[in-house]
Subunit: 84 residues, 2 copies
């Protein structure tokens, strides 16, 4: 069994209106130190062992459904777990 | 200047309908290895140096606005950057 952490972020060149709203809210609450906020997605997948390579499975899942690669970048970490 | 990465995840005991939808979609696309999906948020903050401790600033921001601590957990990593 594998635990996979997937991070999906907007590409640098893409505007992040959600991040701007959060930044403005932080300023309203006197967190004036915060000069930029970018919002992304974080996903934890549990993947069972199969005859397919887990890295290929995750990459394909990211390309097909988890990330919109036109505007988003993704990266992931795979951790093997001992089943109990 | 600090780059802070904040991860917000639903608590273990809280149902994640969005994750279930993504899991079902992955099964439809023949990713049957994926047995569980949990969706969280990932935020990148840029914080300028101030007289307040950056760790306190981030923790307070998480408690007040970035996470709903009733149903969500958060963790963060702080990285100091050399300004250019």
């Amino acid at each position: 069994m594998y635990k996979v952490k997937v991070y999906v972020t907007l590409r640098e060149s893409v505007l992040d209106p959600q991040g701007t709203v959060v930044k403005n809210s932080l300023h309203t609450l006197n967190f004036n130190e915060v000069s930029d906020v970018r919002i992304g997605k974080y996903m934890e997948l549990t993947i069972e062992k199969s005859d397919r390579n887990v890295e290929d499975v995750v990459r394909e899942a990211c390309e097909k459904i988890l990330a919109n690669t036109v505007i988003e970048d993704y990266r992931f970490e795979i951790e093997e777990c001992v089943s109990q």
